[in-house]
Every structure is written in C-alpha cells, then in structure tokens.
C-alpha cells in the first residue's frame, strides 16, 4: 500500500513540476504549483494515518492553509498584470536581465 501511494504522489509532483517549468502562461504555472504542493501532502497524510499520529494530520491542515495563502498572493500578483483581458506570459516578463 505504501509504495503505490509514494508512486502516485511522485507522479503528481512531477506533472505539477512540468506544468510550472514548461508552460509559459502564468495561471497554468500557478495551477501546477498547487498540484505540486498537494502531491507533497499525500505521503504526509498516508504516513500520519499509518503511524496513527494526530499531530501529522494537524500539520497537513496547517500546511493546506499556508498553501491557500500562497495561492492568494500568487493570484493577486498575476491578475494585477492583466491588461484589457490578456495576461502576459513569461516571455513578456523578461525585460529585467543581464
């Protein structure tokens, strides 16, 4: 049971990672980010229940709240850049370099 769970979370994590790294649209990257975070939580929940340890479950809840806060901040940053309904992609956001 344990290994299959680790496999699923690893798969999910890698897919989130690809979304963040490969895609250019900011919103899609934000989704990828959230997927990565939740993928990382799966083994935590699994282990917590396996160890019958309520602290672990409480920790998962706290981490979810933090992830939510993070999403809020990310969204506000991204949406602020929206001009006449179009969102710039990462290529447009590259004038700071060198």
């Amino acid at each position: 049971m344990n290994h299959s769970l680790w496999l699923i979370s690893a798969l999910l994590f890698v897919s989130g990672l690809c979304a963040v790294v490969l895609r250019k649209q900011l919103l899609v990257m934000l989704f990828g980010l959230e997927i990565m975070i939740s993928a990382a939580l799966i083994p935590l929940v699994a282990q917590a229940s396996f160890f019958q340890d309520s602290n672990g479950l409480a920790a998962v809840l706290i981490i979810l709240c933090v992830a939510a806060a993070e999403a809020v901040v990310g969204l506000s940053l991204i949406l602020h850049l929206k001009k006449n309904k179009t969102l710039p992609d990462t290529d447009a956001l590259a004038n700071l370099k060198g």
Partner: protein, 619 residues
C-alpha cells in the same frame, strides 16, 4: 703607534685644497683655483720625500687606524702601508703630478671651466696617492674607482664635443668591466681568508703553496689590470682618452693612472706568482700588446694618438717584464716611462699650443726645429730616452727587461727585438716629421710661438728626470727592496750586460735609421703607402678589427636590453598581465548572458541545483 705627520699631510693637504677650492674659490675667484692645488702638491711632495727617506733607511710603516665597515668579526679598515713599492710610486706621482700641475696652470690659462678642471685634476691626484699607499685590497678598490671617476671627469672635460663624451663613457665602462675582476677577487679573498681582512701584511703569509681560490684571485686581478693598464683586449679606451686636455693625457694617461694596473700586479706579486701559468700569460699578453700597438703607432697621423699607442706599447713592456719575473726592473721602467712619456706629452702640448689647437696632426707640422727650438731639444732628449739609447734613463730600465727577454730566448727574444726596433722607429718618425724640414704634403703654421715659462720650466725638470733618473738605479733598487712584501728577496741590482746592450742599441739605431729613411729620404713614403694601399690605412684605423668588434659588442648589449626591457617586459609580459582584465571581461559577458531574465530558465536552474544536491547523496 701614532701616524707620522708626513702621512697625515699626504691626505689632509689635497682634501683641504679640494674643499677650500670648491666652497670658496669656485664661485668667487675661479682663476686662482690652481694656487691651493699647487700648494698642496708641494706639501705632498715634501712628505713623499720624507717618507721615501724613511723607507730608504728601513722604517716600514703599516697601520690601520680607522674601522670602515665593522660588522662583528667581519670588518674592513682604512690603513696605510709605506714600503719600497709604495714609496717609489708615491714619489713618482708626487713629483710628476706637481710639475704637471704647474704646467697645467699655464696650459689651461683662460679656459672658462678653469676651476672645474683643477678640482677634477686634484681629485685624481688625491685618489692616485690614496691608491698607492693603501694597505688592503678594499681600500685600494675604493681609490681604484675614484681614479676611474676622475678619468671620466677629465676625459669628458670638454663635454661640448660629442667625441669627448663618448670617450669618457667608453673609458669608464671599460674600467668598470675590469673592476668585475677586482670586485670578485675581493669577494673570494674576504671569504677564503676572513681573518686577514684583505690586508696585505696579514694576507700574504697565509698563502702557502697556493690553491684554486688563490689562482682564481690572481687571474681576476690580472683582468682588472688589463682594463686599467690598457693591455690587449681592453686597451681601446686609451687612444680615445686623448680627447681630454694635454696635461690630463700627460699625467693620467701616460705617467700615473694607467700604471695602476701594473702597480696592482706588482703589489700582489706573491699571489700572482703562485697561480700556475699566470706569469707567462702576463708576459705573452704584454709582449703582444707592445708589438701590436707599436705597429699601429707607426701608422697614426695625430701626434697625441701616436703617444697614446706608445704608452700602450710601453705598458705592454712593463707587463712583459713583470711576467718574466723582473718585477723590480718593471717597476723601474714604470718610473722612467713616467718621466719621458710625460715629457713627450708636454712637448706635444707645446706644439699644439703653438698651433693654437687642442691637438696637432702630422700634416700640420714640419720644420718646427727653427721655430720652437726649446721644445725640439726637450722632445729629442725624451725620444732618446724612450728608445733606450745608452746614457738616457730609458736604457737602464728597458735594457734590464730586454736582457731578461733575450735570456728567456724563443718568442721572448723575438718580441724583445721587435719592441726595441718599433719603439725607436715610431718616436723618431714623429720627431723627423714634426721638427725637420717641412715636406710638400705638410703645411706648417706661419709663426708658431714658443710656450711660456710656466709651461717650459716644469717641462725642463721632467726632461731632466727623463735623462738622469737612470743613473740612480742602485739607489732605486735599494729603496725598492726595503719592505716590499714577498718581492724584497728577488730584487737584484742588474749589472751592465754588454750582450743585451749591443743587441738593443743596434736594434734602436736600426729603428732610427728606418724612421729617417721612411719619412725624409724617399719621396714621402709615409704618405705614399696611404695612397696606393688604402686598405692598410682602414685596417690600422680599425685597430685591426678590435674597434668594430667592440662596437658590435655594445650593439649586442643594447639589443639585449631592448629585447628584455621593452619587448618582453612592457609588451609581452605586462601586456599579458593587463589582458587578464580582458579575459575577465569575456568571462563576464558569458556569465551575464546566462541571466536571460525569463522565469522558466531560472526554474530550470533551480531544478538543476536540486538534482546536483540529490546526486551528492548517491556517493
């Protein structure tokens, strides 16, 4: 034991004259500059005479009062050694120097830099005295260099002339090359015999049977002597040194300075004699120099150049005598040569003075016998003395050396004959061309006037010396033998050797006859060979290849310095160091191009970093 007053005066008089002259007379009354100098020459002359008398009666003085460089056990000190050798040369320097000072006060009359001349001249006088009386090698080296400095100042006295400047530089550099030998010899001596502090009296007893180090020291001292006494390879600076005023040529480049090398070898004879093959080499080099420069002297046109090459030739003779073991007769020849060569130079000075030029060429003289008879008589007497004709001084010393040469036989006797013939030939060629009837190629001056008494009186005394000094040979050898370290037992008073007398006088007579025929009899053979065999002329001008070789050497050193100083140091090495900033710039460009500014790239880099961290776990 207290230092006798005479020794103190030896140094105090010239030093006070120099200081007084520089600080008081130079700016205010530079025409009176010669008075303090002549006064100090007088004082030095008297003290030299009293020293000679003391040494003659057997009182040798060797004392080191001041410590110069004290570093614990290792130390160098100032000191004075008055024995036979130093007394003789000191008297020569004092006497001839004093007379030439008087001559110079007349000769240099009206020269704008009169004051500077006498300061440099008297500086030379002081350093020559210091060199002669010093009792250890380091102090001798100090005065050896001071003599080199004063020759630089005096040769380059008329610095406006480019040739004078070049000659003074050449003289100083050649002497410095020789000083490499002296410096290295000092280093070896100070380290092989540390306890002796390079002092003669302590050093020579320690030599024993000689060793590699001692032979090295001997050879190095010979190198120093070659440069200073103008022996074969390093002689070329002496003829060019004639750029200086005539009194300078007379005192320094004839009588005293150039003999410093011979004096050094005579002083360190116990050391040189222990080096295997060294004395024979000295003899060979001396003989070759004598013959070689004798030939060149015969081809020169400028009067002072002829006398310069003649000096080189006679220095060769002294070295030849020294090499053959005749140390005392070589010293005697040094003294007699000091007199007659100084006399010849001063006569040449009179001729030049008569022509109102700094130096005279054979083309511009001729038939001067009637116009300046006094100089002619003095010149003839000195010429006889130089060619070693019997009653004159030159005969006694030269005959002793030639006698030893004939005894040695083989190459030495051949050289002896050549020397006897050549020295008579070139001096009488000069005599006939200058004083006897003018030849058609010559255009003598209209009305040359005889030099004034200030010049002729000291000349008269020097000519007296040139004639009479030979007769006092026995007293000379007795004086020489008292206290001369390591050489006293060798000194023997040479008797009148008929066989060498006949041979050398006949060769000298033959030389005179040949000179007469060469210049006067046939249609001016002296000028013919220059016209139809010009290549000999160019060969002789180039000292048979020595001058171009020297020029090539200096060019090589200049090229080397350019290669190292500019090409390598400035362009290549420094260029490479400064280019490191360019390479850093290129590296900076590539590095800053990494920061593309796109978010995805930075995320890739984060993954890469994470990957490396995890890879580290596998090890």
């Amino acid at each position: 034991m207290a230092i006798p007053l005479s020794v103190v005066c030896l140094f105090a008089a010239p030093v006070s004259a120099l200081l007084f002259g520089y600080f008081f007379l130079l700016k205010r009354k530079q025409e009176w500059m010669h008075w303090p100098m002549i006064l100090s020459c007088a004082v030095v002359g008297v003290s030299a005479a009293s020293i000679a008398a003391q040494v003659y009666s057997g009182h040798i003085l060797d004392v080191s009062p001041f410590k110069w460089m004290p570093v614990g056990a290792w130390s160098i000190s100032f000191g004075v050694r008055l024995d036979g050798l130093s007394a003789i040369v000191l008297s020569l320097v004092a006497l001839v120097g004093g007379l030439i000072h008087v001559y110079a006060s007349g000769y240099m009359e009206g020269d704008p830099a009169f004051g500077r001349f006498f300061l440099a001249f008297h500086l030379f006088y002081l350093s020559m005295i210091g060199l002669v009386v010093s009792n250890n090698y380091v102090q001798m080296y100090l005065f050896w260099e001071m003599v080199g400095l004063s020759s630089y100042l005096l040769i380059g006295f008329w610095y406006q002339k480019a040739s004078a400047r070049r000659a003074s530089l050449q003289a100083f550099f050649t002497n410095r090359v020789g000083d490499i030998g002296f410096f290295l010899a000092l280093l070896i001596l100070m380290n092989v015999f540390p306890a002796a502090h390079a002092r003669f009296s302590e050093l020579f007893p320690l030599l024993g049977q000689g060793s590699l180090a001692i032979s090295w020291v001997g050879w190095l001292l010979f190198l120093a002597a070659i440069a200073k006494s103008a022996q074969f390879p390093l002689y070329f600076w002496l003829p060019d040194a004639m750029e200086g005023p005539t009194p300078v040529s007379a005192l320094m480049h004839a009588a005293t300075m150039v003999t410093a090398g011979i004096f050094l070898m005579a002083r360190s004879w116990p050391l040189i004699s222990l080096a295997p093959h060294l004395p024979t080499t000295i003899a060979a080099v001396g003989a070759f120099t004598a013959v070689f420069s004798g030939i060149i002297a015969a081809t020169r046109k400028d009067l002072k150049r002829i006398l310069a090459y003649s000096t080189v030739s006679h220095l060769g003779i002294m070295a030849f005598g020294l090499g053959l073991g005749e140390v005392s007769s070589a010293l005697f020849h040094l003294v007699t040569h000091g007199f007659f060569k100084a006399a010849l130079f001063l006569c040449a000075g009179n001729i030049a003075h008569a022509l109102h030029k700094s130096t005279a060429s054979v083309d511009e003289t001729g038939g001067l016998l009637k116009k300046i008879p006094v100089t002619a008589v003095f010149f003839t007497a000195a010429a006889f003395s130089l060619s070693g004709i019997w009653p004159f001084a030159g005969f006694y010393s030269k005959d002793a050396i030639l006698g030893a040469a004939f005894d040695r036989g083989g190459w030495a006797s051949v050289a002896g004959f050549a020397i006897a013939f050549l020295s008579a030939f070139y001096i009488f060629r000069m005599l006939f061309l200058a004083f006897l009837g003018p030849r058609e190629e010559q255009h003598p001056p209209e009305h040359p006037h005889e030099a004034g008494p200030a010049m002729n009186v000291p000349l008269f005394f020097i000519v007296l010396g040139a004639i009479g000094i030979g007769w006092f040979g026995t007293q000379f050898y007795h004086l020489a033998s008292s206290g001369w370290l390591g050489v006293s037992p060798l000194v023997k008073i040479p008797g009148f050797d008929w066989s060498s007398f006949i041979r050398s006088t006949s060769m000298a007579g033959l030389g005179i006859l040949a000179a007469y025929l060469w210049t006067m009899k046939w249609p001016s053979f002296d000028w013919d060979w220059r016209r139809n065999m010009p290549w000999i002329e160019t060969m002789a001008d180039a000292d048979f290849g020595v001058k171009p070789m020297v020029a090539a050497l200096t060019l090589l050193v200049e090229e080397l310095s350019y290669l190292l100083g500019i090409f390598w140091d400035k362009k290549t090495w420094d260029g490479w160091i400064e280019n490191t900033s360019l390479w850093a710039e290129d590296a900076a460009k590539t590095v800053s191009s990494l920061a593309s500014g796109r978010l995805n790239d930075s995320l890739w880099w984060i993954l890469l970093g994470g990957g490396v961290m995890l890879l580290r776990l596998l090890k």
